[in-house]
Amino acid sequence: MRRVLQTAMPYLLLLIGSVSISSPALSTDKTTNQLTVEKVAGVFQEQNRLIMLWSVDCPPCYQELAMLERLLLSYPDLPITLISTDDDSERYEEVEEQYQRLDGNTLTAWVFADGMAPQLRYAIDKTWSGVLPRSYIVKAGSRVGHSGVLKEKEVRKLFKLPEN
């Protein structure tokens, strides 16, 4: 992981300094940000981003989201994409509730389309077993995956932010 962070850092620094995020703000419309297989390539095409996958059924994911929420208070423009793997329209309201907590930041937020979790997991990374939270650093046309909760110090280091 350390090697990944070191490699990604120059790109992320560049991004933080010069790129304005063109992604939409979080939407309250439950249908607009559903991730389909067709959209995966586009989501992972955007370079120099941290992509974090989570679920309402994953308590450790909320540790990561709470950390992110704290960090975004000071750094609202971090280039981060959140993807909820809850591919059940009955759970979208819970997903939206979480995204509302992060509203006002320039995050990109997605939720798996209804009933499509296996296909989407495979499209994102066929070696990903479904363990959550899962994150990817996307840079230079490739991505590096990490399973488990990202610690705040790791994210700070990744984005070259001062230590807390």
């Binding site: 059924d57 296996p118 077993s129 363990v131 959550l132 939270p133 399973s147 909760v149």
Partner: protein, 438 residues
């Protein structure tokens, strides 16, 4: 005999044959129509098993196959006495709607005893995030309605109680085990660290319960993974059988994903109330939710185990057995690799006394169900694909049956499908055997 059986005769038919196995399919909401094994159900006007997201099944000592499934906050039970050719009309378990967990591994449980009593348990979701109750009801043979549901967990504060597993002895002694977050929530309130969750268990005989009973909950272990299913069976022991209660002679054994050391997510096994033994050693280190739980089956005094792990050099599905409750474990057989996106092993000792192991793989578009067989676990047949499907599927479950083992593989929105997998083992076992390897 009871209302279910009277309804039974009104319900219908459909048998389909596929290349390697017999497939029987039925959908109650289109009951008078012949349905192909993958026929999509277009309407769900009545409570229909076809429209449930998950279906759980059990086989009674007489060979009756019982199903538990949920639609619109109600739990339903129905059954078949002819291996799926016809299904009984469903009976509603809870008269008052409840938010019943029925996705993935969080699903209702069902069991039956030799008398014909039917037992169900489920998770009732509560308003606060990650809080839920373990609920229980039973249908006494000869009665029309299930008993009023009771809550099994005995803690006063809302907490998480989930991934319930249940088994019932021939004389109606119910054993339940579940993941319980009461200790972790209490620790959090006190501002103290707490690793993982806890396992609790309870035993009871519903026939002796009256009113609104409080069921004694017994803590078992702490520090287990918070989001993987448990596996429960019972095993022959040397204890004597009590002639009055007809208990003894068998002990409940549970297997689960534990957290060893610094977030090593390997598996543990133990007789409820006795020390745990570590039984898997892939060393998967992750601070997260694997969402993959194990499967076990007892064969006399041998316990067979299958599980998923995702360590860098040991990823996929594994099998091993133990003859001494985990004190020593056979070398693990790594039978499905990460590249196949494998998951959800289902391991049974079949109606013929032999082992069957089923699991699913996914190639990006299509799910496949694989099965391999063994006499005692030392050697296994080659694996064979017995079913494939493109679309939404539930997990595969093998059902040991006295007239030949079955595979339940539900596809939400489609007619319920049972696959006869009994002939596979007889024809194939012994032709190509795979050594159990380290």
């Amino acid at each position: 005999m009871n209302d279910m059986q009277r309804y039974f005769s009104r319900q219908l038919k459909t048998v389909g044959t596929v290349i390697f196995f017999l497939v029987v399919a039925l959908a109650e909401c289109t009951a008078s129509t012949v349905i192909s094994p993958t026929a999509r159900v277009t309407t769900c006007e009545n409570p229909s098993i076809a429209c449930a997201k998950t279906v759980t099944a059990t086989v009674s000592p007489t060979g009756r196959i019982l199903f538990a499934w949920t639609v619109d906050d109600y739990l339903y039970v129905n059954y078949t006495d002819d291996r799926g050719k016809t299904l009984s009309r469903p009976i509603k378990v809870n008269e008052t709607p409840e938010k019943i967990a029925a996705r993935g591994e969080k699903r209702p449980n069902i069991a039956a005893d030799s008398t014909g009593n039917i037992y169900v348990s489920w998770i009732k979701k509560l308003p606060q995030k990650w809080t839920s109750d373990i609920r229980f009801s039973w249908l006494k043979v000869g009665e029309i309605n299930f008993a009023s549901p009771i809550t099994i967990n005995d803690d006063a504060e809302p907490a998480g109680h989930s991934f319930n597993e249940m088994m019932v002895s021939d004389v109606g002694e119910v054993t339940m085990v579940w993941l319980d977050s009461r200790h972790s929530r209490a620790a959090k309130k006190r501002g103290e660290p707490y690793v993982g969750s806890s396992i609790y268990w309870a035993t009871m005989n519903p026939a002796s319960l009256t009113g609104s009973p409080k069921i004694k909950n017994t803590p078992y272990v702490n520090g287990n993974c918070v989001c993987c299913r448990l596996a429960l069976t019972n095993i022959e022991t040397d204890s004597e059988i009590d002639s009055e209660t007809e208990t003894g002679g068998r002990s409940p054994v549970v297997m689960w994903r534990h957290i060893f050391g610094d977030n090593i997510r390997d598996h543990a096994l133990g007789v409820l109330g006795e020390p745990l033994q570590r039984v898997s050693f892939e060393q998967w280190q992750v601070d997260g939710c694997p969402h993959h739980g194990p499967s076990i089956s007892a064969q006399n005094k041998r316990i067979h185990m299958s599980w998923f792990n995702d360590a860098p050099n040991a990823s996929g599905l594994f099998y091993a057995y133990t003859d001494n409750l985990g004190e020593t474990v056979s070398p693990a057989l790594h039978f499905s690799e990460r590249a196949d996106s494998p998951g959800h092993p289902s391991l049974i000792t079949g109606g013929d006394g032999k082992l069957k192991l089923a699991w699913q793989t996914f190639d990006g578009a299509q799910f496949s169900i694989h099965i391999m067989t063994s006499s005692r676990g030392d050697q296994w047949s080659d694996a064979r694909i017995v079913a494939q499907f493109t679309g939404q599927t539930d997990y595969p479950f093998l059902l040991p049956h006295p007239d030949g083992d079955l595979l339940l593989w539900h596809k939400p929105g489609h007619a319920l499908t049972l696959y006869d997998v009994s002939t596979y083992g007889k024809e194939r076992y012994g032709k190509t055997q795979q050594e159990v390897i380290q």
